[in-house]
Subunit: 250 residues, 2 copies
Protein backbone atom coordinates (compact mmCIF):
# COMPACT_ATOMS: atom_id res chain seq x y z
CA UNK A 1 0.00 0.00 0.00
CA UNK A 2 3.03 2.29 0.22
CA UNK A 3 2.22 3.80 -3.17
CA UNK A 4 -0.96 5.39 -1.85
CA UNK A 5 0.70 8.02 0.30
CA UNK A 6 3.59 10.39 0.06
CA UNK A 7 6.47 9.12 2.08
CA UNK A 8 8.83 11.91 3.03
CA UNK A 9 11.96 10.54 4.63
CA UNK A 10 13.93 13.49 5.82
CA UNK A 11 15.72 14.95 8.78
CA UNK A 12 13.37 17.38 10.47
CA UNK A 13 14.64 20.94 10.35
CA UNK A 14 15.47 22.65 13.62
CA UNK A 15 12.71 25.16 12.97
CA UNK A 16 10.11 22.44 12.41
CA UNK A 17 11.13 20.62 15.59
CA UNK A 18 10.85 23.90 17.49
CA UNK A 19 7.43 24.63 15.96
CA UNK A 20 6.08 21.22 16.93
CA UNK A 21 7.56 21.42 20.43
CA UNK A 22 5.97 24.85 20.87
CA UNK A 23 2.53 23.23 20.58
CA UNK A 24 3.20 21.79 24.04
CA UNK A 25 2.48 25.35 25.28
CA UNK A 26 -0.99 26.91 25.42
CA UNK A 27 0.16 30.24 23.99
CA UNK A 28 1.51 28.67 20.81
CA UNK A 29 -1.55 26.46 20.46
CA UNK A 30 -3.85 29.47 20.81
CA UNK A 31 -1.87 31.48 18.27
CA UNK A 32 -1.57 28.71 15.70
CA UNK A 33 -4.99 27.10 16.08
CA UNK A 34 -3.41 23.63 16.18
CA UNK A 35 -2.75 20.99 18.83
CA UNK A 36 -0.77 17.76 19.11
CA UNK A 37 -2.19 14.26 19.30
CA UNK A 38 0.09 11.30 19.93
CA UNK A 39 0.07 7.52 19.70
CA UNK A 40 -1.46 5.03 17.23
CA UNK A 41 -4.72 4.52 19.10
CA UNK A 42 -5.79 8.17 19.19
CA UNK A 43 -4.42 9.11 15.79
CA UNK A 44 -6.00 6.14 14.03
CA UNK A 45 -9.33 7.11 15.54
CA UNK A 46 -8.91 10.78 14.56
CA UNK A 47 -8.06 9.67 11.02
CA UNK A 48 -11.25 7.59 10.96
CA UNK A 49 -13.54 10.27 12.35
CA UNK A 50 -12.12 13.68 11.39
CA UNK A 51 -9.45 13.04 8.72
CA UNK A 52 -9.75 16.56 7.31
CA UNK A 53 -8.62 18.09 10.63
CA UNK A 54 -5.37 16.09 10.74
CA UNK A 55 -2.91 18.53 9.25
CA UNK A 56 0.33 16.54 9.27
CA UNK A 57 1.86 13.42 10.78
CA UNK A 58 5.34 12.43 11.90
CA UNK A 59 5.84 8.74 12.53
CA UNK A 60 8.45 6.04 12.95
CA UNK A 61 8.68 3.24 10.39
CA UNK A 62 6.67 0.81 12.59
CA UNK A 63 3.59 2.96 12.34
CA UNK A 64 4.06 3.94 8.70
CA UNK A 65 4.32 0.25 7.74
CA UNK A 66 0.78 -0.28 9.07
CA UNK A 67 -0.73 2.94 7.72
CA UNK A 68 -2.88 2.54 4.65
CA UNK A 69 -4.40 6.02 4.24
CA UNK A 70 -3.44 8.73 1.80
CA UNK A 71 -2.29 11.52 4.10
CA UNK A 72 1.21 12.90 4.06
CA UNK A 73 3.39 11.21 6.66
CA UNK A 74 6.96 12.22 7.43
CA UNK A 75 9.04 9.25 8.49
CA UNK A 76 11.18 10.11 11.50
CA UNK A 77 13.71 8.34 13.69
CA UNK A 78 13.12 7.35 17.30
CA UNK A 79 15.40 10.19 18.35
CA UNK A 80 13.38 12.71 16.36
CA UNK A 81 10.16 11.31 17.82
CA UNK A 82 11.61 11.77 21.29
CA UNK A 83 12.40 15.39 20.46
CA UNK A 84 8.98 16.37 19.13
CA UNK A 85 6.89 14.34 21.57
CA UNK A 86 5.25 16.00 24.58
CA UNK A 87 4.89 12.69 26.40
CA UNK A 88 7.27 10.91 28.75
CA UNK A 89 6.93 7.77 26.65
CA UNK A 90 6.54 8.76 22.98
CA UNK A 91 4.55 6.25 20.96
CA UNK A 92 5.30 5.90 17.24
CA UNK A 93 3.36 8.85 15.83
CA UNK A 94 2.70 12.55 16.43
CA UNK A 95 -0.02 14.43 14.55
CA UNK A 96 -0.68 18.15 14.24
CA UNK A 97 -4.45 18.61 14.36
CA UNK A 98 -6.69 21.64 13.75
CA UNK A 99 -8.51 22.87 16.86
CA UNK A 100 -12.28 22.43 16.95
CA UNK A 101 -14.71 25.30 17.31
CA UNK A 102 -16.04 25.44 20.86
CA UNK A 103 -19.43 27.05 21.44
CA UNK A 104 -21.73 27.93 24.32
CA UNK A 105 -24.23 25.08 24.80
CA UNK A 106 -27.74 26.49 24.39
CA UNK A 107 -29.91 23.56 23.47
CA UNK A 108 -28.80 20.46 25.37
CA UNK A 109 -30.10 17.63 27.49
CA UNK A 110 -27.18 17.15 29.89
CA UNK A 111 -24.00 19.15 30.55
CA UNK A 112 -21.02 18.50 32.84
CA UNK A 113 -19.74 21.70 34.49
CA UNK A 114 -16.13 21.50 35.71
CA UNK A 115 -14.85 23.85 38.40
CA UNK A 116 -11.06 24.32 38.21
CA UNK A 117 -10.24 20.75 37.22
CA UNK A 118 -6.49 21.13 36.88
CA UNK A 119 -5.10 17.64 36.50
CA UNK A 120 -4.89 17.00 32.74
CA UNK A 121 -5.40 13.25 33.19
CA UNK A 122 -8.61 13.81 35.16
CA UNK A 123 -9.83 16.40 32.69
CA UNK A 124 -9.20 14.21 29.65
CA UNK A 125 -10.75 11.19 31.37
CA UNK A 126 -13.91 13.22 32.10
CA UNK A 127 -14.16 14.16 28.40
CA UNK A 128 -13.93 10.43 27.58
CA UNK A 129 -16.61 9.61 30.20
CA UNK A 130 -18.93 12.26 28.70
CA UNK A 131 -18.47 10.67 25.28
CA UNK A 132 -19.22 7.20 26.72
CA UNK A 133 -22.49 8.38 28.26
CA UNK A 134 -23.54 10.35 25.18
CA UNK A 135 -23.04 13.80 26.73
CA UNK A 136 -22.07 16.29 24.02
CA UNK A 137 -21.07 19.31 26.11
CA UNK A 138 -18.67 20.14 28.92
CA UNK A 139 -18.52 23.66 30.32
CA UNK A 140 -15.36 24.66 32.21
CA UNK A 141 -14.81 27.40 34.75
CA UNK A 142 -11.71 29.57 34.31
CA UNK A 143 -8.83 27.70 35.93
CA UNK A 144 -9.53 24.34 34.31
CA UNK A 145 -6.69 22.75 32.36
CA UNK A 146 -6.46 23.58 28.66
CA UNK A 147 -8.37 21.04 26.57
CA UNK A 148 -5.49 20.89 24.08
CA UNK A 149 -2.81 20.16 26.71
CA UNK A 150 -1.12 17.03 25.27
CA UNK A 151 -1.88 15.05 28.44
CA UNK A 152 -5.56 16.00 28.25
CA UNK A 153 -5.72 14.95 24.60
CA UNK A 154 -3.97 11.68 25.49
CA UNK A 155 -6.47 10.87 28.27
CA UNK A 156 -9.51 11.60 26.06
CA UNK A 157 -8.56 8.76 23.72
CA UNK A 158 -9.93 10.75 20.73
CA UNK A 159 -13.17 11.65 22.51
CA UNK A 160 -11.93 15.24 22.28
CA UNK A 161 -13.17 15.21 18.68
CA UNK A 162 -16.72 14.40 19.77
CA UNK A 163 -17.34 16.51 22.88
CA UNK A 164 -17.80 20.29 22.79
CA UNK A 165 -15.62 21.78 25.56
CA UNK A 166 -16.63 25.38 26.24
CA UNK A 167 -14.76 27.71 28.62
CA UNK A 168 -17.13 29.87 30.66
CA UNK A 169 -14.62 32.71 30.93
CA UNK A 170 -16.99 35.15 32.64
CA UNK A 171 -18.52 32.54 34.94
CA UNK A 172 -21.99 33.58 33.78
CA UNK A 173 -23.19 30.52 31.87
CA UNK A 174 -24.52 28.60 34.85
CA UNK A 175 -26.61 31.49 36.14
CA UNK A 176 -28.59 31.56 32.93
CA UNK A 177 -29.61 27.90 33.06
CA UNK A 178 -33.06 26.76 34.13
CA UNK A 179 -32.43 23.01 34.45
CA UNK A 180 -31.64 21.06 37.61
CA UNK A 181 -28.08 21.77 38.74
CA UNK A 182 -26.54 18.82 40.62
CA UNK A 183 -23.52 19.46 42.85
CA UNK A 184 -21.19 16.52 43.56
CA UNK A 185 -20.30 16.93 47.24
CA UNK A 186 -19.07 14.83 50.14
CA UNK A 187 -22.30 15.55 52.01
CA UNK A 188 -25.60 15.33 50.17
CA UNK A 189 -28.34 12.95 49.14
CA UNK A 190 -27.07 9.51 48.15
CA UNK A 191 -26.81 9.34 44.36
CA UNK A 192 -28.02 5.74 44.70
CA UNK A 193 -31.40 7.11 45.83
CA UNK A 194 -31.61 10.09 43.46
CA UNK A 195 -34.30 9.95 40.74
CA UNK A 196 -32.93 9.26 37.28
CA UNK A 197 -33.04 12.09 34.79
CA UNK A 198 -32.46 12.79 31.14
CA UNK A 199 -31.63 16.43 31.58
CA UNK A 200 -29.63 18.70 33.85
CA UNK A 201 -26.17 19.93 34.74
CA UNK A 202 -23.66 18.08 36.92
CA UNK A 203 -21.07 20.27 38.65
CA UNK A 204 -17.74 18.63 39.57
CA UNK A 205 -15.33 20.49 41.84
CA UNK A 206 -11.59 20.96 42.00
CA UNK A 207 -9.55 17.87 42.98
CA UNK A 208 -8.58 19.16 46.41
CA UNK A 209 -10.86 22.11 47.16
CA UNK A 210 -14.18 20.78 45.83
CA UNK A 211 -16.79 23.18 44.43
CA UNK A 212 -16.36 26.87 45.09
CA UNK A 213 -19.01 28.63 47.22
CA UNK A 214 -20.46 30.76 44.41
CA UNK A 215 -21.15 27.66 42.33
CA UNK A 216 -22.48 25.68 45.26
CA UNK A 217 -25.13 28.39 45.77
CA UNK A 218 -26.50 27.66 42.30
CA UNK A 219 -27.01 23.95 43.04
CA UNK A 220 -30.61 22.74 43.08
CA UNK A 221 -29.60 19.22 44.21
CA UNK A 222 -26.59 18.19 46.34
CA UNK A 223 -25.58 14.60 45.81
CA UNK A 224 -22.90 12.29 47.13
CA UNK A 225 -21.51 8.80 46.55
CA UNK A 226 -21.98 6.90 49.82
CA UNK A 227 -18.66 5.85 51.36
CA UNK A 228 -18.27 2.52 53.13
CA UNK A 229 -14.53 2.55 53.73
CA UNK A 230 -11.90 5.08 54.76
CA UNK A 231 -10.62 6.90 51.68
CA UNK A 232 -10.96 10.63 52.21
CA UNK A 233 -12.27 11.27 48.71
CA UNK A 234 -12.63 9.77 45.25
CA UNK A 235 -10.70 10.85 42.16
CA UNK A 236 -12.74 13.56 40.34
CA UNK A 237 -13.03 11.55 37.11
CA UNK A 238 -14.09 8.38 38.95
CA UNK A 239 -16.72 10.36 40.88
CA UNK A 240 -18.03 11.84 37.61
CA UNK A 241 -18.36 8.38 36.06
CA UNK A 242 -20.12 6.90 39.09
CA UNK A 243 -22.59 9.79 39.43
CA UNK A 244 -23.50 9.82 35.73
CA UNK A 245 -24.04 6.04 35.73
CA UNK A 246 -26.63 6.42 38.50
CA UNK A 247 -28.20 9.74 37.48
CA UNK A 248 -28.78 9.33 33.77
CA UNK A 249 -31.87 7.48 32.68
CA UNK A 250 -31.05 4.49 30.50
Amino acid sequence: MKETYNLCQSMLSKKLIKDIQSLGHKKSRDESGFFIAEGPKIINELLDTIPEEVESMYATEDWVAKYSGNKNVTVISDVELQRISSLNTPNQVVAIVKQFIAYEPADYSFVIYLDTIQDPGNFGTIIRIADWFGISHIVCSPGCADRYNPKVVQATMASIARVNVFYDENRTWLQKQRKDIYAATLEGTSVFEESKTGSGILMIGNESKGLSDDLMKLATRKITIPRKGNAESLNAAVATGIILSHLLST
Copy 2:
Protein backbone atom coordinates in the same frame (compact mmCIF):
# COMPACT_ATOMS: atom_id res chain seq x y z
CA MET B 1 6.14 24.18 68.09
CA LYS B 2 9.62 23.87 66.64
CA GLU B 3 11.02 22.61 69.95
CA THR B 4 9.00 19.40 69.72
CA TYR B 5 10.97 17.81 66.91
CA ASN B 6 14.53 17.43 65.81
CA LEU B 7 15.31 19.84 63.05
CA CYS B 8 18.30 18.73 61.03
CA GLN B 9 19.30 21.44 58.60
CA SER B 10 22.02 20.00 56.48
CA MET B 11 23.16 19.48 52.95
CA LEU B 12 22.15 15.97 51.98
CA SER B 13 25.15 13.78 51.25
CA LYS B 14 25.60 12.44 47.74
CA LYS B 15 25.15 8.92 49.05
CA LEU B 16 21.87 9.75 50.78
CA ILE B 17 20.50 11.46 47.66
CA LYS B 18 21.45 8.39 45.64
CA ASP B 19 19.85 6.05 48.19
CA ILE B 20 16.58 7.99 48.14
CA GLN B 21 16.58 8.25 44.35
CA SER B 22 17.15 4.50 44.12
CA LEU B 23 13.76 3.93 45.78
CA GLY B 24 12.25 5.08 42.47
CA HIS B 25 13.28 1.62 41.19
CA LYS B 26 11.51 -1.61 42.10
CA LYS B 27 14.74 -3.54 42.66
CA SER B 28 15.97 -1.13 45.33
CA ARG B 29 12.55 -1.01 46.95
CA ASP B 30 12.40 -4.81 47.11
CA GLU B 31 15.91 -5.05 48.56
CA SER B 32 15.47 -2.31 51.14
CA GLY B 33 11.86 -2.96 52.17
CA PHE B 34 11.05 0.77 51.90
CA PHE B 35 9.15 3.01 49.49
CA ILE B 36 8.72 6.73 48.89
CA ALA B 37 5.61 8.78 49.59
CA GLU B 38 5.45 12.43 48.53
CA GLY B 39 3.38 15.52 49.18
CA PRO B 40 1.71 16.99 52.28
CA LYS B 41 -1.69 15.37 51.76
CA ILE B 42 -0.45 11.77 51.64
CA ILE B 43 2.29 12.16 54.21
CA ASN B 44 0.04 13.90 56.73
CA GLU B 45 -2.45 11.06 56.39
CA LEU B 46 0.28 8.41 56.75
CA LEU B 47 1.53 10.21 59.86
CA ASP B 48 -2.02 10.12 61.25
CA THR B 49 -2.72 6.48 60.47
CA ILE B 50 0.60 4.60 60.49
CA PRO B 51 3.17 6.92 62.09
CA GLU B 52 5.41 4.04 63.14
CA GLU B 53 5.97 3.03 59.50
CA VAL B 54 7.24 6.47 58.47
CA GLU B 55 11.00 6.03 58.72
CA SER B 56 12.29 9.48 57.79
CA MET B 57 11.16 12.72 56.17
CA TYR B 58 12.84 15.36 54.02
CA ALA B 59 10.92 18.60 53.66
CA THR B 60 11.23 22.22 52.65
CA GLU B 61 10.71 24.95 55.25
CA ASP B 62 7.08 25.56 54.18
CA TRP B 63 6.06 22.11 55.26
CA VAL B 64 8.22 21.99 58.36
CA ALA B 65 6.69 25.26 59.56
CA LYS B 66 3.28 23.56 59.63
CA TYR B 67 4.43 20.22 61.07
CA SER B 68 3.63 19.70 64.72
CA GLY B 69 4.58 16.04 65.23
CA ASN B 70 7.68 14.62 66.89
CA LYS B 71 9.33 12.71 64.03
CA ASN B 72 12.74 13.54 62.68
CA VAL B 73 12.52 15.86 59.70
CA THR B 74 15.49 16.95 57.62
CA VAL B 75 15.01 20.43 56.22
CA ILE B 76 16.06 20.58 52.58
CA SER B 77 16.21 23.21 49.86
CA ASP B 78 13.93 23.27 46.80
CA VAL B 79 16.87 22.09 44.71
CA GLU B 80 17.48 19.12 47.01
CA LEU B 81 13.75 18.30 46.93
CA GLN B 82 13.89 18.33 43.15
CA ARG B 83 16.80 15.89 43.26
CA ILE B 84 15.26 13.33 45.59
CA SER B 85 11.69 13.54 44.27
CA SER B 86 10.35 10.92 41.88
CA LEU B 87 7.57 13.23 40.67
CA ASN B 88 7.54 15.75 37.84
CA THR B 89 6.25 18.37 40.26
CA PRO B 90 7.79 17.76 43.71
CA ASN B 91 5.61 18.94 46.56
CA GLN B 92 7.27 20.08 49.80
CA VAL B 93 7.96 16.73 51.46
CA VAL B 94 9.33 13.25 50.73
CA ALA B 95 9.00 10.41 53.24
CA ILE B 96 10.71 7.03 53.35
CA VAL B 97 8.10 4.52 54.50
CA LYS B 98 8.33 0.85 55.51
CA GLN B 99 6.57 -1.52 53.13
CA PHE B 100 3.45 -3.31 54.40
CA ILE B 101 3.13 -7.07 54.59
CA ALA B 102 0.96 -8.34 51.75
CA TYR B 103 -0.88 -11.63 52.20
CA GLU B 104 -3.10 -13.97 50.22
CA PRO B 105 -6.74 -13.11 50.97
CA ALA B 106 -8.42 -16.18 52.43
CA ASP B 107 -11.39 -14.89 54.37
CA TYR B 108 -12.98 -11.95 52.56
CA SER B 109 -16.29 -10.59 51.35
CA PHE B 110 -15.20 -8.82 48.15
CA VAL B 111 -11.93 -8.76 46.20
CA ILE B 112 -10.85 -6.81 43.11
CA TYR B 113 -8.66 -8.91 40.77
CA LEU B 114 -6.50 -6.85 38.40
CA ASP B 115 -5.16 -8.35 35.18
CA THR B 116 -1.98 -6.59 33.99
CA ILE B 117 -3.02 -3.07 35.01
CA GLN B 118 0.13 -1.25 33.97
CA ASP B 119 -0.66 2.44 34.24
CA PRO B 120 0.45 3.50 37.74
CA GLY B 121 -2.21 6.24 37.90
CA ASN B 122 -4.99 3.76 37.14
CA PHE B 123 -3.57 1.23 39.58
CA GLY B 124 -3.29 3.71 42.43
CA THR B 125 -6.75 5.12 41.71
CA ILE B 126 -8.22 1.60 41.90
CA ILE B 127 -6.60 1.10 45.34
CA ARG B 128 -8.23 4.38 46.44
CA ILE B 129 -11.62 3.26 45.03
CA ALA B 130 -11.34 -0.06 46.92
CA ASP B 131 -10.70 1.89 50.13
CA TRP B 132 -13.71 4.15 49.44
CA PHE B 133 -16.03 1.17 49.02
CA GLY B 134 -14.63 -0.69 52.03
CA ILE B 135 -12.88 -3.41 50.01
CA SER B 136 -9.81 -4.59 51.92
CA HIS B 137 -8.08 -6.74 49.29
CA ILE B 138 -6.80 -6.39 45.74
CA VAL B 139 -5.20 -9.36 44.00
CA CYS B 140 -2.92 -8.60 41.02
CA SER B 141 -1.85 -10.83 38.17
CA PRO B 142 1.85 -10.82 37.27
CA GLY B 143 2.38 -7.85 34.95
CA CYS B 144 0.53 -5.30 37.08
CA ALA B 145 2.44 -2.18 38.08
CA ASP B 146 4.39 -2.33 41.35
CA ARG B 147 2.26 -1.08 44.23
CA TYR B 148 5.19 0.95 45.57
CA ASN B 149 5.89 2.76 42.28
CA PRO B 150 5.88 6.44 43.37
CA LYS B 151 3.11 7.28 40.89
CA VAL B 152 0.95 4.44 42.26
CA VAL B 153 1.51 5.64 45.83
CA GLN B 154 0.67 9.19 44.75
CA ALA B 155 -2.63 8.14 43.13
CA THR B 156 -3.73 6.09 46.16
CA MET B 157 -3.78 9.22 48.33
CA ALA B 158 -2.66 7.15 51.36
CA SER B 159 -5.21 4.37 50.75
CA ILE B 160 -2.17 2.16 50.13
CA ALA B 161 -1.87 1.92 53.91
CA ARG B 162 -5.37 0.46 54.22
CA VAL B 163 -5.73 -1.99 51.31
CA ASN B 164 -3.92 -5.33 51.14
CA VAL B 165 -2.42 -5.65 47.63
CA PHE B 166 -1.38 -9.24 46.95
CA TYR B 167 0.50 -10.36 43.82
CA ASP B 168 -0.78 -13.69 42.52
CA GLU B 169 2.61 -14.65 41.08
CA ASN B 170 1.61 -18.16 40.03
CA ARG B 171 -1.80 -17.15 38.70
CA THR B 172 -3.42 -19.81 40.89
CA TRP B 173 -5.36 -17.76 43.43
CA LEU B 174 -8.50 -17.28 41.34
CA GLN B 175 -8.88 -20.96 40.53
CA LYS B 176 -9.20 -21.78 44.21
CA GLN B 177 -12.07 -19.35 44.84
CA ARG B 178 -15.68 -20.48 45.19
CA LYS B 179 -17.43 -17.09 45.09
CA ASP B 180 -19.04 -15.42 42.09
CA ILE B 181 -16.36 -14.12 39.72
CA TYR B 182 -17.52 -11.06 37.76
CA ALA B 183 -15.68 -10.14 34.57
CA ALA B 184 -15.82 -6.50 33.41
CA THR B 185 -16.21 -6.73 29.63
CA LEU B 186 -17.49 -4.66 26.74
CA GLU B 187 -20.14 -7.29 26.05
CA GLY B 188 -22.10 -8.74 28.94
CA THR B 189 -25.14 -8.22 31.12
CA SER B 190 -25.78 -4.57 31.99
CA VAL B 191 -24.36 -3.86 35.44
CA PHE B 192 -27.40 -1.62 35.94
CA GLU B 193 -29.54 -4.77 35.92
CA GLU B 194 -27.22 -7.06 37.86
CA SER B 195 -28.37 -8.15 41.36
CA LYS B 196 -26.52 -6.43 44.16
CA THR B 197 -24.14 -8.54 46.21
CA GLY B 198 -22.04 -8.37 49.33
CA SER B 199 -19.52 -10.93 48.21
CA GLY B 200 -17.54 -11.93 45.15
CA ILE B 201 -14.56 -11.09 42.97
CA LEU B 202 -14.49 -8.41 40.28
CA MET B 203 -11.92 -8.96 37.50
CA ILE B 204 -10.67 -5.83 35.69
CA GLY B 205 -8.60 -6.27 32.52
CA ASN B 206 -5.58 -4.55 31.02
CA GLU B 207 -6.12 -0.98 29.75
CA SER B 208 -5.87 -1.89 26.08
CA LYS B 209 -6.18 -5.67 25.84
CA GLY B 210 -8.94 -6.31 28.38
CA LEU B 211 -9.08 -9.57 30.34
CA SER B 212 -6.91 -12.45 29.16
CA ASP B 213 -8.65 -15.61 27.91
CA ASP B 214 -7.56 -17.85 30.80
CA LEU B 215 -9.10 -15.45 33.32
CA MET B 216 -12.23 -14.93 31.26
CA LYS B 217 -12.86 -18.69 31.40
CA LEU B 218 -13.09 -18.47 35.20
CA ALA B 219 -15.84 -15.81 35.10
CA THR B 220 -19.22 -16.84 36.45
CA ARG B 221 -20.84 -13.50 35.43
CA LYS B 222 -19.90 -11.23 32.52
CA ILE B 223 -20.99 -7.64 33.07
CA THR B 224 -20.73 -4.40 31.16
CA ILE B 225 -21.44 -0.69 31.61
CA PRO B 226 -24.02 0.25 28.94
CA ARG B 227 -22.65 2.80 26.47
CA LYS B 228 -24.85 5.55 25.06
CA GLY B 229 -22.24 7.57 23.19
CA ASN B 230 -19.21 6.87 21.04
CA ALA B 231 -16.15 6.43 23.25
CA GLU B 232 -14.48 3.13 22.45
CA SER B 233 -13.89 2.26 26.09
CA LEU B 234 -13.79 3.68 29.60
CA ASN B 235 -10.66 4.21 31.68
CA ALA B 236 -10.02 1.05 33.80
CA ALA B 237 -10.25 2.90 37.12
CA VAL B 238 -13.46 4.70 36.14
CA ALA B 239 -15.00 1.38 35.04
CA THR B 240 -14.01 -0.21 38.37
CA GLY B 241 -15.67 2.61 40.31
CA ILE B 242 -18.88 2.51 38.27
CA ILE B 243 -19.22 -1.29 38.50
CA LEU B 244 -18.59 -1.41 42.25
CA SER B 245 -21.11 1.37 42.87
CA HIS B 246 -23.81 -0.71 41.15
CA LEU B 247 -22.77 -4.18 42.27
CA LEU B 248 -22.14 -3.78 45.97
CA SER B 249 -25.11 -3.86 48.28
CA THR B 250 -25.42 -0.70 50.36
